[in-house]
């Protein structure tokens, strides 16, 4: 068991756990941040994507020990405080979800894309989220919701 300090959504957090514990369980169970989804637990579905030092990673495959001293952002950061992130508003406006389970991870991937690149194209968006699985078939709405925020405009078919 190690005492590990990190920053989560801008606040410092400290946990005393086995350093091999996946970040996913620490976020959800030790820090009570349930928005990061538990999916395949083997890095294949991308449902648990969070940002570590602004880079998207699957929380199920990252040991907490490797995150010591680093910045972690979870989906809760998009709705913290009084102003929701425009991505959340756009997803709700487009009703871009059915069961909603894949959305948290996709929102975080989309945030990373928008933070990194000015006006990403539709192709950029699709490429960025292509590893994320969605089983309900809400893909078109999700891409459109991200496009709206990206300001990329509609691309002719």
């Amino acid at each position: 068991m190690d005492a590990i300090e990190l920053r989560v959504n801008g606040k410092s957090a400290a946990v005393t756990v086995d350093p091999d514990t996946p970040l996913l369980y620490v976020l959800r169970n030790d820090l009570g941040l349930k928005g990061t989804r538990v999916g395949c637990a083997e890095g294949q579905c991308m449902g648990c994507t969070v940002l570590i030092d602004s880079r998207p990673q699957t929380a199920c495959t990252v040991p907490i020990g490797s995150v010591a001293g680093r910045d972690v952002e979870t989906v809760e950061s998009l709705v913290a405080g009084t102003v929701r992130h425009p991505l959340v508003d756009s997803f709700l406006r487009e009703q871009a979800g059915q069961c909603g389970y894949c959305l948290a991870g996709i929102l975080m991937r989309a945030k990373a894309l928008l933070d990194e690149r000015v006006r990403p194209t539709r192709d950029d968006i699709v490429a960025a989220i292509d590893d994320h699985l969605c089983r309900c078939g809400t893909h078109t709405r999700i891409v459109h919701a991200i496009e709206q925020v990206a300001g990329a405009g509609r691309v002719a078919p």
């Binding site: 756990v17 086995d18 514990t21 996946p22 369980y25 959800r28 169970n29 009570g32 349930k34 928005g35 989804r37 538990v38 999916g39 395949c40 637990a41 083997e42 294949q44 579905c45 449902g47 989906v75 809760e76 998009l78 709705v79 959340v88 997803f91 709700l92 009703q95 979800g97 059915q98 069961c99 909603g100 389970y101 894949c102 959305l103 948290a104 929102l107 699709v126 490429a127 989220i129 292509d130 590893d131 994320h132 699985l133 969605c134 089983r135 309900c136 078939g137 809400t138 893909h139 078109t140 709405r141 999700i142 891409v143 078919p157």
Partner: protein, 707 residues
């Protein structure tokens, strides 16, 4: 005034109080047995109730799938949540309103016709009064029978039905603790259960002492070949069960047939008649036959199955994302040998499962573990591998069909035979437990006989095997395979997917034989104007027949889901190069009154994408006695870069009853893809999924090199 049509959901829940209650001074409690599984039902039910009662939807609190507090409705399946559940809510809400207004009229000494309601407050001739539903409610008898008072608003008077109210549950599900996986009850601990390599394997040796030495704080629960662990920390439970897996020796299993085609040869079941009309042996000048094979499919939910159970003084409370908590409660009562009155089931949302996956099984496992530590809630989460390899599968099917027709394009006869396993084997139905852990216990529960859905409720194996077309001579039969080792149950559209695929691809084969346009052939055989209307509309949207270039094809297909729910026609455009890509899909849908049009469109879009995924990519593989498909790498599904552009057009018929729509696009999408591939390549692919290998095999059945 004529009595409105009732709903089957009212049979067991006939009273207003079964559905509606008033709480505090501003909350309307709506109770439903139908549950939110990602299809938007919670929002639509709130819309209906708020509409009939003239309240703000925001004041409605929905209790759904609660065995102690809510009505007992049949499970959330078969696209019936709006059709029957929504209808019951509308009737109950309208009856409650009538009772409240009668009381208000008495108190105000005003004629009922002079009264109106604005957000729960009684208004007389446009003037607000002191009376509200909440002040009136204590004076009325909410146990009154719904059908004695039901008076739903005329369609034209509805304000909320027909509007696309945003989903009430979506924000929390996108950004917060919106799922059963996120429930954290006080004192809750974490359980994990050892996955057998295949169903039916027994534990021959297990070094339990070694596991206990390694994890002294973990509670080990063993019953026969069932092994579970309980830990305060979830990550410790995960590790302990991994280690347990290395300390166990399993028995060898009996190999299972690697495909349905192999399995059929050894199954002794007989064909049984479903429907017969006229004489299919009568002459038609030409005849063609077809046979298609659908593989076993995985529900492949994004989230592994999850449950929480707690025992208190011999009573069990469970939290579950089951689609049928009432049936599950009965199954658990049988499994534990207790009266069902000592079990309370509470639904909480999970990820979409599109049918009966592992969500019921995991409850039993949580309950077994929780039984060892009464008073403590135990949460169990399945592994991804368990969800793929232990959940019931969407059954494989083989469907054979033959049609006779004349040179003038008139189809004179059709025979359809659907072959496959049970399409629905939910726990608790027909007196069976059917929870997978039951077979691993030292005293296993008796296995029930597989059953199927009767045609009167839409059929299971034979769902949509009865054609939508006017054909004078018909013979529809099914052969239910009972001796196969695979565990199967409901997957979206049941037999409808394969049966619509076979009939609708046969239609195109006939059209090609006699050189007639597939849309024209369909319209010539459709007597139902609503079916014809969706075909015409979808074709128009797609610019049918198009001018397909090299490797490009358009295909169309249509159904009325279950021959009684929504009508849906789909046109797709495919490009066939290295593989088949569906680039566009156009759908026309008639679901009668659409309560939430955007919700209907969302369901159709989703069904199109999911069916495209099944049809182009998906197949569960078997190896020896086990399901070899255990992760997403082995089970690719359609990705963002592969989804078609989709346009959906609703033909809204506000004056007609709402028809179930969630599964309507599944079959037509698949058949439209099959037809588009035929147009693009000139070959009929009869073995699904339509992969490069399947196409090559169809082109050259004898070919050995498929690379």
């Amino acid at each position: 005034m004529t009595t409105p049509a009732s709903s089957p959901s009212l049979t067991d829940n006939p009273r207003c109080s079964d559905w509606i209650a008033f709480s505090g001074d501003a909350t309307l409690v709506l109770k439903s047995g139908k549950v939110e599984i990602g299809q938007g039902i919670a929002t639509a039910l709130v819309q209906i109730a708020a509409d009939e009662l003239d309240v703000d939807p925001a004041c409605v609190e929905l209790i759904s799938g609660h065995t102690a507090l809510g009505p007992i409705e049949a499970g959330t399946s078969s696209s019936l949540s709006i059709e029957t559940g929504g209808r019951a809510v509308r009737l109950a809400a309208s009856a409650t309103r009538a009772l409240l207004l009668a009381e208000a009229a008495k108190l105000l000494q005003a004629p009922k016709d002079a009264l109106a309601v604005e957000n729960g407050r009684i208004v007389v001739d446009g003037r607000a009064t002191d009376l509200t539903y909440w002040s009136l409610a204590p004076s009325i008898d909410m146990t009154a029978a719904v059908m004695d008072h039901a008076a739903p608003k005329a369609p034209a008077d509805r304000r909320l039905s027909g509007t696309s109210m945003p989903r009430i549950d979506l924000e929390l599900k996108a950004t917060g603790a919106g799922f059963i996986h996120d429930i954290d009850l006080p004192g809750m601990v974490h359980g994990r259960v050892l996955d057998p390599p295949a169903p039916g394997r027994r534990i021959e040796a297990f070094d339990e002492a070694a596991l206990q030495r390694r994890f002294p704080d973990v509670r080990i629960v063993r019953d026969g070949s069932f092994v579970g662990v309980i830990a305060a920390r979830e990550d410790i439970a995960v590790r302990a069960i991994e280690v347990a897996g290395r300390l166990v020796t399993w028995s060898q299993g009996m190999p299972v047939p690697a495909s349905l085609r192999e399995a059929i040869a050894v199954d002794s079941s007989q064909s049984e008649a479903v429907l017969s009309k006229g004489d299919v042996d009568a002459d038609g000048s030409r005849q063609i036959t077809t046979e298609i094979e659908r593989p076993y499919l995985a529900h492949a939910s994004m989230a592994p199955s999850c449950a929480i159970a707690i025992w208190r003084e011999g009573t069990l409370e469970f939290h579950s994302h089951s689609q049928a908590v009432h049936d599950l409660r009965l199954a658990l009562a049988m499994a534990f040998g207790i009266d069902a009155s000592r079990i309370v089931g509470i639904h909480a949302p999970g990820a979409g499962t599109y049918g009966h996956s592992g969500q019921d099984d995991v409850v039993y496992e949580a309950a077994i573990l929780a039984h060892a530590i009464p008073g403590t809630p135990v949460r169990v989460l399945w592994s991804r591998a368990a969800d793929f390899s232990l959940s019931p599968l969407g059954p494989g099917m083989i469907v054979r069909a033959a049609a006779k027709f004349n040179e003038d394009g008139r189809i004179t006869s059709l025979t359809v035979e659907s072959i496959g396993q049970s399409q629905v084997s939910r726990p608790g139905r027909g007196g069976t437990v059917n929870l997978i852990a039951a077979e691993r216990l030292a005293k296993p529960c008796a296995k029930g006989q597989p059953s199927d859905v009767p045609l009167a409720r839409g059929g299971g194996l034979e769902r949509n095997a009865v054609p939508i077309y006017a054909i004078p001579n018909l013979r529809v039969s099914k052969r239910m395979l009972r001796d196969l080792p695979y565990r199967t149950s409901a997957l979206r559209a049941l037999g409808g997917y394969a049966n619509i695929f076979v009939i609708e691809t046969l239609m195109d084969d006939i059209a090609a034989e006699i050189g007639i346009d597939p849309v024209a052939l369909r319209l010539a055989h459709l007597e139902d104007a609503r079916a014809a209307a969706v075909v015409t509309k979808a074709a128009e949207m797609a610019g049918w027949p198009g001018r397909p270039g090299q490797g490009e094809g358009f295909g169309i297909a249509v159904c009325q889901y279950k021959n009684r729910s929504a009508y849906c026609a789909v046109v797709v455009r495919v490009i066939c190069d290295e593989r088949v890509r569906v680039t566009h899909a156009w759908a026309a849908v008639d679901a009668g009154e659409a309560i939430n049009p955007n919700g209907v469109i969302n369901q159709i879009e989703g069904a199109i994408v999911q069916s495209t995924s099944w049809t182009l990519k998906e197949r569960v593989d078997f190896e020896d006695d086990a399901i070899a498909t255990r992760n997403w790498e082995r089970y690719p599904i359609l990705r963002f870069s592969e989804v078609p552009k989709i346009e959906v057009s609703l033909i809204v018929r506000t004056e007609l009853p709402a028809l179930g729509v969630g599964e309507a696009a599944t079959g037509p999408t698949a058949a439209a893809i099959g037809n588009a591939v035929r147009q693009a390549l000139g070959v009929r692919v009869r073995v699904l999924p339509i992969t490069r290998e399947a196409i090559l095999a169809a082109i050259d059945p004898g070919g050995s090199d498929m690379a």
